[in-house]
Amino acid sequence: MSIAETFAKAKSENRSVLVGCMPAGFPTVDHSIEQMIAMHEAGCDVIEVELPYSDPVMDGPVIQKASDIALANGVRTRDTLKIIDAVSSAGATVVLMTYWNPIEKYGVDAFARDLAAAGATGLITPDLIPDEAAEWIAAADAHKIDRTFLVAPSSTDERIALTLANCRGFVYATALMGVTGARKTVSSQAPDLVRRIRAIDPEMPVGVGLGVGNGAQAAEVAAFADGVIVGSALIRCVLEAPERATGLANLRALSAELAEGVRRR
């Protein structure tokens, strides 16, 4: 299912889309595939695969740690594409989130081509702003990959408009000024940001990320956003589990709780 179809379907069901994030290759390639399929089966509408990177400046301690583990275990860019292939073949809608340098190194057009071939529908770029994205925009058009750029509470209306004009699929609204990671309470800046986005483009689906960790928070965000993006809390299920079976069970349970949350708007 494309991102547009996923958001349209959720809208027709009067609920939000649940986007669950997991780093590729964490802790190993096969285990990360198993985790992502479990998240999909337990109710994540979209699997956001994060490409592990040595210098993830937008990420808090949980994703940093998971990325470090994946890299220490030798995960490569081509493994990430293999993982996307496996997870999309299992029926999940997959988007990739990656810092820019690994794509630049791979070759921008070649990456868009191989990403599409692997079955991903979109790419989220946390450190690529539209101002620097001419090459990516052309490659994404050529290979029909949706582009998700980020907007933040600090973004001016002019920048929100520029970003929306270059997004396709959905826009990623960072709920607060900070890095990824679950917070005790949902940011109060998020509803205002979503309102400002809708005032500029009422059609573009808005996914809200940063700080959501449980079903109640998912429901709170689902009340005003088209999509709820959860990363660190899901990753922690695996990171903190004493053994693998418990980790997977906790991951399924939290995915199901979040999926229930986005239906409780």
């Binding site: 990177y53 040595s54 210098d55 993830p56 400046v57 937008m58 808090g60 301690p61 940093q64 740690k65 470090d68 890299l71 490569r76 860019t77 820019w100 340098n101 690994p102 794509i103 630049e104 190194k105 791979y106 946390p126 450190d127 690529l128 702003i129 101002d131 620097e132 750029f149 980020l150 907007v151 933040a152 509470p153 600090s154 973004s155 001016t156 920048r159 970003t163 960072t174 000024m177 900070g178 890095v179």
Partner: protein
């Protein structure tokens, strides 16, 4: 250079989370207005003159000249307050922070020199200061940690990634994303997202302006070459910039070759790296086949960084400046040579410039058919390096270990 979006040819730009764009735009606007504000410039110049101790001397190093077979002029940035060129940058940026009404500054530091300079400027201008420093570096440079704390700064050891400068920079960026309303990121080198490369270059640009004027005054002509060490590249761009239009003046940047570029253990981004994006700008960097950053290695903590400022990348590609690696052992030989010929203990960073200059003398002599004149940027003093150098040369008594682990 750069263009309005901070590009030096294909290099530079802004590769940052959108959350930082507004702060960078505000910084850019504040800098543009400060640049043409006589009051700001007068305050900055007054601090440079009466507090930092600039203009620094241009010193004719007679005995070193004899040894190297060239006329060597040393730009004595080591005599500045806090012991390096970095004081120019921190004073400029701290004044900008005041101008923007931001009461807090954060900084990253490797060896601790930029951290100490930032803490100094923050104390002087009454700003809160938080310094991020890799845990490995806090152990290697315990004295600088103490200096920063004496000056009232908070030092936060960074325990993720490789626990060195690049991770300290990541952590400072993470802090900044959360605190941009109240905080200025006092970036320590002429790299990072626009407008930092341009802004830092301009704040340290006095080095080259002074050196150029001092040359004309002292020897009645411009030098044949200017040499500087290059890590992130702020001291080098600071001395190069004023000479770029002087086509007869060759510009040489010497990178940290560590154990030798061929060994893979080095910090030579231009001569041993490839083009990519790191810490907010497109430039040369050390990376693997997948674009993951590779850890750098150098005996000099101040050059131990896997990237380089974008203007150097551009000067390299355009051919205006030439970049070459200098190994740890070449740098340490030059360190010792300057100690013994001139009674000046240089920073190990600056020793790379001395060693590189020594290497180009025969080439220049052949090319020019006469004794070449070379201005070397002596970017910092070696007090902070006494233990590293002492251990390197084996002249520390075992009982004299001041910093744990330094002799091992």
């Amino acid at each position: 250079m750069p263009d309005l979006a901070g590009h030096f040819g294909r290099y530079g730009g802004r590769f940052v989370p959108e959350a930082l764009v507004k702060a960078l735009d505000e910084l850019d606007a504040a800098y543009r207005s400060a640049k043409v504000d006589p009051e700001f410039q007068a305050t900055f110049q007054d601090l440079l003159l009466n507090y930092a101790g600039t203009p620094s001397l241009l010193y004719r190093a007679t005995r070193l000249s004899e040894k190297l077979g060239a006329e060597i002029l040393l730009k004595r940035e080591d005599l500045n307050h806090t012991g390096a060129h970095k004081v120019r940058n921190v004073l400029g940026q701290a004044l900008l922070a005041k101008r923007m009404g931001k009461p807090r500054v954060i900084a990253e530091t490797g060896a601790g020199q930029h951290g100490v300079a930032s803490a100094t400027a923050a104390a002087l201008l009454d700003l809160e200061c938080v310094v991020y420093m890799g845990e490995t570096d806090t152990q290697r440079q315990a004295l600088n940690v103490a200096r920063m704390r004496m000056l009232g700064a908070t030092v936060i050891p960074v325990t993720n990634g490789s626990r060195t400068l690049k991770d300290a920079l990541n952590e400072a960026l993470r802090d900044w994303v959360s605190t941009v309303d109240t905080t200025h990121y006092l970036l320590g080198t002429a790299a990072g997202p626009h407008p930092f490369p341009e802004l830092v270059r301009d704040f340290v640009g006095g080095i080259g302006v002074e050196a150029r004027a001092q040359c004309l005054e002292q020897i009645g002509r411009l030098p044949d070459a200017v040499a500087a060490c290059v890590g992130g590249g702020s001291n080098a761009i600071g001395i190069f910039h004023a000479f770029v239009p002087d086509e007869g003046v060759r510009l040489y940047g010497f990178e940290a070759g560590g154990d030798g570029v061929e060994t893979g253990r080095h910090a030579a981004s231009i001569t041993g790296g490839s083009v990519g994006v790191l810490h907010g700008n497109r430039t040369y960097l050390l990376q693997d086949e997948d674009g993951q950053t590779i850890e750098s290695h150098s005996i000099s903590a101040g050059l131990d960084y896997p990237g380089v400022g974008p203007e150097h990348a551009w000067l390299n590609d355009s051919g205006r400046a030439v970049y070459e690696p200098v190994t740890d052992s070449e740098a340490m030989a030059a360190f010792q040579l300057l100690c013994r010929t001139e009674g000046i203990i240089p920073a190990i960073e600056s020793s790379h410039a001395l060693a590189g200059a020594a290497k180009i003398v025969p080439r220049l002599r052949e090319e020019l058919g006469r004794t070449p004149t070379i201005v070397i940027n002596l970017s910092g003093r070696g007090d902070k390096d006494v233990h590293t150098a002492g251990a390197y040369f084996g002249i520390l008594d075992q009982n004299e270990t001041v910093v744990p682990g330094e002799n091992t």
